[in-house]
Symmetry: C2
Subunit: 243 residues, 2 copies
Amino acid sequence: MPRKIPCEKCPLAKIEGFRDFTADELEFIKAFKTGELTADAGTTILAEGSHSEHLYTVVSGWGFRHKLLENGRRQILNFVLPGDLIGLQGSLSAEMGHSVEALSDMMLCVFQRSRLWELFRGHPGLAFDLTWLAAREERMLDEHLLSVGQRSAEQRAAYLIRFLFSRAELRGMTNGRTFEFPLTQRHLADALGLSLVHTNRVLNRLSRRGAIKWQAHTLRLDTRKLEEVADWVPDPDARRPYI
Amino acid sequence: MPRKIPCEKCPLAKIEGFRDFTADELEFIKAFKTGELTADAGTTILAEGSHSEHLYTVVSGWGFRHKLLENGRRQILNFVLPGDLIGLQGSLSAEMGHSVEALSDMMLCVFQRSRLWELFRGHPGLAFDLTWLAAREERMLDEHLLSVGQRSAEQRAAYLIRFLFSRAELRGMTNGRTFEFPLTQRHLADALGLSLVHTNRVLNRLSRRGAIKWQAHTLRLDTRKLEEVADWVPDPDARRPYI
DNA sequence: CGTTACGTTGAAAGCTTTCAAGCATCGTGG
DNA sequence: CCACGATGCTTGAAAGCTTTCAACGTAACG
């Protein structure tokens, strides 16, 4: 198993807004980490119902969490970006309640579930971060649920796009008002709880308004217009942790 | 501030399926707890945007978490029942992302946010539980989001009712197939992301199917039928912690 | 150059919402 | 003890948003 990325040179550390580790914590994390994983776009990294031996932190690339209904319908619950931790649920509970799939090629750090307890016992700071991460995921879900439950189709789409932009921006993955957008309309539709056809129409409407411009896999947006449509409230959280 | 409930006699401890504390943990929790709070139905316990000094554990009664949109629409994110912890978000983040309101008269234990750090440092077992609780809340939200995004109105309603029954059941709040149901149709509508009128029609449909029978504030249900309609998958988690 | 994945459109069908009333229950004040 | 206002539940009908069904266009790929 290749070790291309030593923890001391973790690319995530360079991202502004991610906190730094103490020497002690870094030491532990180096031992906690058991390897690296690269996943091609489309790969399933964690499967619903499984009980994985591992936890992962996304180092690069995009992925998404989703659940399936028996009739085949899929709900995308959230997207995962660099710095996000995945698989915690499978470590604390009997089994994963959702699947995680790579949206683009991804690179992840692999951690051993069985040593999670040591983390809690020996590194309260990291344990705190873990809880923080779980609470933040909950917050994002609250926001999505509000969106899917109460916003109109156009508002929902505007909201999601603005949301993804802000997450990408925090990680330095944007370039002015444009960024690489690896989703297809099917992904958006499944995240928004809309049909593919309607999603297409709604996106066209946003384009005509001049709120977004999507070509190839690049999205340029007018954040002001999107926020106006979406009734957007910025996330107050800043300096966030990762593991 | 009255101390009607000493931790040694915590009524939650009697509930089957809630784990027991070590003597050491119990000691800490007694110190962590700063008092008790009783709230009348309709009271707002925590407000979106605030930064409360407290955390709460529900001892008795029902409540719900919700968020509002500028246009006044409300999304109920989840319901809170005995054993649930609320306000963690406000402790880890700059401010609460949602409000919590009492649905029935409630009784809660109050904890001091400022001592949360001691908990992490001195009681990894409790810290672990806290993370577990956050992860479980996330799981419930995933489930709801799936529901609101992908299920039909009737499936959604069936799902939510079945879900609430199972949560009540775990706490010994049910009586055979019936239980006290403090929600109004407006609450259900706001949780399901449906209009009040449509919610009413959908509930009538479930009644006619014989899946539910709702009179006064009591609900009797045919779990088999509900599960069939809702495409229900039981939660694998059993022995859950609380604080 | 055929196949496949993804995006786009039109039209009809269908599910939900909105608008409008009407009814019932409950607690309070006269 | 009864009237009255407030809250919650029901229904009908029309309007409106979304989905479904069907095709068609395009770009990437082997």
